[in-house]
Amino acid sequence: MNATLALIRDTFREAFARRIFWGFFGCCTALLLFLIFILRVDVVQGALATISIFGNSLPSTNVENLVQQTQSVIAMVLYFAGMALSVFASAGLVSSVFEPGRIELLLSKPVSRTHLLLGRYAGNVLVVAANILYLVVGSWVIFGIKTGVWGLGFLISSLCTIFVFSVLLAAIVLVGVIWDSAAVAIMVTFAIMILTPILAQKNTLERLLSSEWSRDVVRVLYYTLPKTSDISIIIRHLILNQPVESWMPVWSTGLFGIAVLGLGLWRFNKRSF
């Protein structure tokens, strides 16, 4: 437990030193301040609300709908832009562990390689989770106080975002273990993030493709790779209190994460430094 905490604390310290954490924290704080001071919501008769930004009023609307829509916008910005920034920042945190002169000392300690890598992985997830939760819980509280709407969908959506990040981080770990390169890890992860929304249009692609084998390739890629695009739809549904049609994108993405992280651990255990 001592070693695990030390590894997590060290990841936070490195994130602080690289100013990654502070960068995220600054962006989140700016958004929260925006919600506190700039966005004014006047609730009229408990159901209708008038929203004003920089003093300009928008037409009255249903307060719950207004809050949910705003939360879904924040969640989507966080999901796509925040995720991209997190991947960009985390790649360096993973590959720095494999630097010659640092890894030998870590490996000389009475801690198994699996423990070392999982400790670093957990630390990295927690760095990003702390920022996501800060923004989501902060804005949820602000919306709750200003409007009296306390729906849990927004909070649950943040867990989905953290979950998808942890899956992408598993890919970063695998690439980092194989190539020791933050740049390659970022490229591969971004490629996954770009490819998956395209693959999410599986049905359209299948209609457009002429050969059966190319349709098979699309199907295999779709079911194998994380379904970031499909999960973003699930997040939106959760926030808007709409039923989720299928949880397959979540569990299959989880399986991808477990498999890739397992492969990363196996490679790390086999590798000589």
Binding site: D10, E14, R102, S108, K109, P110
Partner: protein, 323 residues
Amino acid sequence: MSGFAINNKSGFAIETEGLTRVFRNRWANTELRAVDNVSLQVPEGCTFGLLGANGAGKTTFVKMLLSSVHPTSGTARIFGRHAQDASSRRSVGYLPENHRFPTYMTGWGMLDFYGALSGMDSASRKRKIPEMLTTVGLDERAWHTRLGKYSKGMLQRVGLGQAMLHAPRLLVLDEPSDGVDPVGRKQIRDVLQALEQQGVTIFLNSHLLAEVELFCHDVAIIQKGKLSLSGSVKDLTSSGGYRVTACEVPEALISELATRSKAHSVEHGLLELMFSTREQANSAVDSLRANQCEIESLHAIRSTLEEVFIRTVSEKPEGVTDK
């Protein structure tokens, strides 16, 4: 000494058997035998120096002991436990050669982090860190300064501190005094000597042969991955031969002894004889005494460790061929 008791029946801190590491480059279809069939035993409580030219395989050997490099074949054991077993490293402190300590850590933070990884609890770390930082000669101002601002010598000291913090029974030090000034070297030597007296096994990998000669009892020389020579420093440095001087030696005996010696000279009635082995020298003394000759002196000619090292690495080890 150590806080971690490990039952070691073998009596050896380090034991390797046929340890081999081959680096293969599949693209270029080449292979490099960085460590080739090295069998070595380092008794507990010993101060042991591993010597070798650059690229001889010393660091790869050390990395295999500490499991950062996996052996191609052979085994390595630390206090009787397989080196691949993480628990074998509970009683080991290590200072790597080209270390890259995280620059965002402070001296205190670094010891705290590596201490926790070594299995120390929070209270012991809090108690021992200031002691250790003082022992390695870092003043209080440096304790909470980031490592990025440390000089090379200070980094060596803090690195040594992290290696010793958890009171290991085996210290593996790769160039411990690299970048440290002469006063600092002496301080480090004193610290290590104190540890040696407490029964800590010290495995030193250094290019500074004078330092190894001063400090180590046993050494091994590794050349092109193979173990070329091992033994006690005392024995290895006394292998320069034996000199016997005597006077009033009859001509006939001079002629006889001259044939048995490596070299001889007669000056002002004093015969000086050089022998390769102790037995030859003893036999010559017997002959001289039997002929009522006076023995003026008898002593072993000592080589420096550097001379032994140069002599060894100049010879090609068995099975090593130049490509």
